[in-house]
Symmetry: C4
Subunit: 166 residues, 4 copies
Amino acid sequence: MDETGKPTQHTARIEAFCDGVFAIAATLLVLEVRVPGHDAVTAAGGLWRALGQHWSSYAAYALSFVVIGIMWANHHIFGYIGRANHTFVMLNLALLCCVAFLPFPTAVLAQYLPSPEQRTAAAVLYGGTLTVTAVAYNAVWRYAAGGGRLLKRDADRRSVDAVTRE
Amino acid sequence: MDETGKPTQHTARIEAFCDGVFAIAATLLVLEVRVPGHDAVTAAGGLWRALGQHWSSYAAYALSFVVIGIMWANHHIFGYIGRANHTFVMLNLALLCCVAFLPFPTAVLAQYLPSPEQRTAAAVLYGGTLTVTAVAYNAVWRYAAGGGRLLKRDADRRSVDAVTRE
Amino acid sequence: MDETGKPTQHTARIEAFCDGVFAIAATLLVLEVRVPGHDAVTAAGGLWRALGQHWSSYAAYALSFVVIGIMWANHHIFGYIGRANHTFVMLNLALLCCVAFLPFPTAVLAQYLPSPEQRTAAAVLYGGTLTVTAVAYNAVWRYAAGGGRLLKRDADRRSVDAVTRE
Amino acid sequence: MDETGKPTQHTARIEAFCDGVFAIAATLLVLEVRVPGHDAVTAAGGLWRALGQHWSSYAAYALSFVVIGIMWANHHIFGYIGRANHTFVMLNLALLCCVAFLPFPTAVLAQYLPSPEQRTAAAVLYGGTLTVTAVAYNAVWRYAAGGGRLLKRDADRRSVDAVTRE
């Protein structure tokens, strides 16, 4: 409660919600890695070969897990932010909407990476989603840091500027 | 522990559980966005066109993500609530039961929005679920705020009334 | 850290893990509610009728959500517990293993409740899982409360006995 | 904030993220336990028999749940760790990437354990994933404990060495 008797927007709660979405999105990725059916195993001549044909699924899983993980790790810049307002919450939701969408382009990439005709489209979709996510990420940070709008009072100006330039 | 040696119902723990259900429900939405199969891609004449035919999936995903996100953000009114009792917990469970159900009408909407005959039914189902959710939301708040039943002692009466009128 | 320099087993962290499993299991239930396909809609003569044929899915979803929710709410008895040891953690894992399994008998019940021949088997499977879960729940509590083994020092004996008798 | 005005890397937040991934991965396991279809039930001569044919799914579910649960429980050694740096976060992400992948080899094991020809391959895949996970687990711990790099100052040296020898 602040002095006016309204509950203050706890950035800790927003951060916990973001962390939750990052963790769930990363863990859901594995659901897109399909188990080869009995027919596929027989056709491929054994389980190892059938599994090997899905190499793009494992690669896409690992890639997206690392991407989401690094985004989560960089998210520690939120430690500089001490307040939140309506616009900040909405920008954050837009960022989370992109992060939670990542399992879809990952699954498309996994399925169409081995296909020479569709490979480019799948890669462009994946790269495009990452680009939009990065733009949302920057929008959140620049809104919060611009003019020190939502920063903690003791945040080091030089470190904040270094993050903005990254 | 309160003075009688019984554990007090921590509203913080209820809030964390609610936040968890909101975050999981929002992130599960992406599982309903299906990857077009190889046959569909061939029939549509390329991956982009096949992806484009699923426009309603992306629209439904974004809509429901924003709806759940805004409900979560408004949930900060729980900051006014300082205590919990059995009825409050049960009303909250009813609310969460609605929120966690949202991925289903979202998937129905995604699949039947492009179909002229079924479009209305899908939209009514979606709108109906949202309405029931809003009713549950109001029931939780009105029960807690009615007569200041479960409010914190320092909660500002005017702000509370403003929330109730919303 | 306790006085011997070993990290104490935080019951708060165990409780958070339990809460997480309860919240995820409850929210995953919706994935078992299937969207009727275009063929089923045509065969049933409209989306409403096709949706109506899946009444058992909605009933099973609501039932299991409420069951998991009530188990979670009763879990506040953990507020009496102040310490944890290896056996307690293992008993808790057995309980969570049952809770996290519930979406499966729920899905079986949803699919075979409308089938007169298989209805009994599906209901027995569901009831059996709930019984095993209740046994695990009691084992956790009785182990912790037996002789006051893991209780907080200020826990009220009479309230604890009342929980045990429940 | 530390004295230079940079946010310190909270190990509590890393631990919460890890706990989340462990809880989600364990709870997702149940999605790989498939409900037998109406045809399979008719062919098997009843729901019980059809369910009985999927014994390997239940065994694989229980095995992996216990494995993830024990890894989570052992994770309390992180209580000794007081600081975090970039390498530590990256090693942790590699560990989580393995843990979150476990539902896949579990599903392969569930499907191919009853098949005499593919059984060995499925078991080797499962065991191999567990081995890689254990290696990542050790890498995280040894990096943090090596020379006391990231340990809390009051951590008992003898207990730490005992964990390392395990």
